[in-house]
Symmetry: C3
Subunit: 312 residues, 3 copies
């Protein structure tokens, strides 16, 4: 009943069956969090550590709530306050955490290889909460959960990812997961922000937003990191909005029941117009709600199996 | 049995009946926290988020303990570490938190209108933990609880608020609550720190401390924010202590059983002398104890009603 | 069954019987944390506050997990965010925390006297989590637990402490505890880092590492604080490693079953070589595991007695 793996590091490595198993489990947890008492004892007496080496409140809070609703004990380990500033190696830090009888480590790190390195060297389960520009698998899964909730199936769907694909771990996780499930994936953005090699994965690469969203079933709009604007790859926010901002007028090119998604935080008026963000096609807040259910499923499937669910 | 409102934003908006209901409920929770097991399952499976945009340990900890003693899950959302630094709007941040199936948001913000704006735009309950110079209703309620615990009633009591009234949300909440319950309220301080318009609310305005505390039943001494001293409104700490510092000699002007209150943190030797702070009339630490009970009552009355209290 | 004291401030003040009682209780808690459900209801409904005036993740997390596994409510009170920056006195801050019906305060402070001052002035139990260069009693106890777990007894054991003894609260706690239990204690390091007065306590003082570890049963290697290197007391990291670094070659001088200990975080290649840190004699990660069990025992024995252990 559990996943037959210790860690969740990428969607690239998951099979279609595993993805379905996670989404199905998340569906039953979504029902749990809508009850008055949003709690099950599945991970009672287990310990989950949030180990974030990059600042994050949104993702950390989502994981923290997921763990607490499974009745786990949760500890937030802030990297800046930690032994790392005293020169300890990453592996020593993680081995120390594990030695406190911790079952699961949720880790975010600015370097793409770091989470994988840790997972290989400890017995505790590791969940990748974002590693550099590599993957952010629970974001990919919650996006897929949100799509499936409305559309039912992935086959024959056209999903368009808009924006800064090259720096986006969200994009990579979505692409791997969606292609695996039979969806058609398009990416679109300024040429400097599109990795040409993605065509080899089976992705359609576009440079005009209008082409990319024509008849799309889902538009997933990535956040533009305005702090990178002064670099040479980025147009100005205004120019970006003109060319790639998704607004009500452009939305008409997509299917009438197109889903509008965004991983947040949004720059309203840049990559997405307020009318689109708050409009009837938007499932942006559903993504957030579903994120907790998906993370409950991941924590449960990685570590929940041995506990007695009837003991509270 | 619940309050017939979603939010607690001000004491100005509460009726006398609502205030009494909160104080009565707090009295029963005060009994709970004095048991060996200081815990009831009233909010089990519910989630409370501490959303503090101004640093606070004291108030945040009091709310956190209140929520935990009601068995809620509590998440601390530190604004500096949050998406707000990435340019997300306040409402987007709060809607995101709510989307994680959060029932109650406890919010502190430097702007007077911010908490109200949020409350109007989300379904979750919002508790104002201090908004700018506007109100800090749970502080007002815990002050009233502490007064009632000793004095029994508010009618015919004379309560004197001393100090920087103009910048104080604590003063505003006390004034609204106490007048509503029939107490007589005096304010006193340097002319630059007294809002003259308060006379219209029915408050007696004084400029000499001796006049203001003569025959008082309660003296609530506000904190002087020494960091503002170099501004033009503030005398030096020494001058302030000379004119408005409450010391043992001046205390004799009040009634013998006068209550000495202070919302903390105290500047000993400035607005209050150590002998008064630690003397037999001081109920300053009782205020802190009562704060947890009052906050349990507020959280319970806003969100507790639907849960099954017998399920643990 | 409880300890007959309110606080745990030093190992100097504990009797041999009390040390044994703590270690025996820790042994039973170690068994608890190895079960699937690592939790007992011993401190349910009690509140433990982590009050750390020096940054620490490792020790704070260990105490936090210990308290949570006893089912206590835990609040982290970060001193920098607190009222202390607003000029409140240390005692006022601590009395405020206590007034929230807190049973136990775990406190770390840069000044050697601070924890003792607080303990004398409040009714809550205080656990010293490290005060200046004075003591770190739970580290001393977890080191002793780890030694006893393998060696059975302290009598006739030779324990060598290596490094910066003069600045080390870990060394002081180990010395007091081990001497009390009948072990032979040696200290070794550069002359500038050894307090000569320790000879009076009954400790053997060495300057050559080889002499100090000859036939040792335990080598406890203290962390070199590289940030102090530019001071006059410290050799360079390289020179230190040459003279006092514990490596595989030097290890052969000790007994074949010598235990290698380090309180962490390690500077690999300075005070300890990677081969020794990860070798078969190393019990460094066991120390971390045992730390949680020892802290559970301390919290339980100081405050656990009155609660009904059968009520969950």
């Amino acid at each position: 009943m559990n996943l037959k793996r210790k860690d969740l590091l990428t969607l690239e490595e998951l099979s279609g069956e595993e993805i379905i198993q996670i989404l199905d489990t998340a569906a039953s947890f979504k029902e749990v969090v809508q009850r008055p008492v949003k709690k099950v004892p599945a991970l009672r007496g287990k310990t989950v550590v949030n180990l974030f080496f990059e600042p994050s409140t949104r993702t950390r809070t989502s994981f923290e709530l997921a763990a607490k609703r499974l009745s786990a004990d949760v500890v937030n380990f802030t990297a800046s306050a930690s032994s790392l500033v005293k020169g300890e190696s990453l592996l020593d830090t993680v081995r120390n955490i594990q030695a406190m009888n911790v079952q699961t480590i949720i880790m975010r790190h600015a370097c793409s290889g770091a989470v994988n390195l840790v997972a290989k060297n400890i017995q505790a389960s590791v969940v990748n909460a974002g590693d550099g520009k590599h993957e952010h698998p629970t974001q990919g899964l919650l996006d897929m959960f949100t799509i499936r909730e409305t559309k039912g199936e992935f086959k024959n769907l056209t999903v368009t990812l808009v924006g800064d694909i090259i720096h986006s771990r969200v994009a990579r996780s979505n692409i791997h997961g969606l292609l695996k499930m039979g969806a058609k994936v398009r990416i679109v953005g300024p040429a400097t922000l599109l990795p040409k090699t993605f065509a080899r994965l089976g992705v359609e690469v576009h440079y005009r937003l209008e082409d990319a969203i024509a008849d799309a079933d889902v538009i997933n709009i990535l956040r533009i990191q305005l702090e990178r604007q002064d670099g040479q790859c980025f147009p100005s926010a205004r120019e970006y909005a003109n060319l790639y901002g998704v607004n009500a007028r452009r939305l008409k090119l997509a299917k009438p029941d197109v889903l509008i998604m965004h991983p947040g935080p949004m720059n309203r008026g840049v990559e997405i117009s307020p009318r689109v963000a708050d409009g009837p096609n938007s499932v942006i807040l559903d993504q957030v709600t579903n994120g907790v259910a998906v993370r409950m499923a991941v924590l449960y499937l990685l570590t929940g199996g041995e506990s007695d669910e009837n003991s509270d």
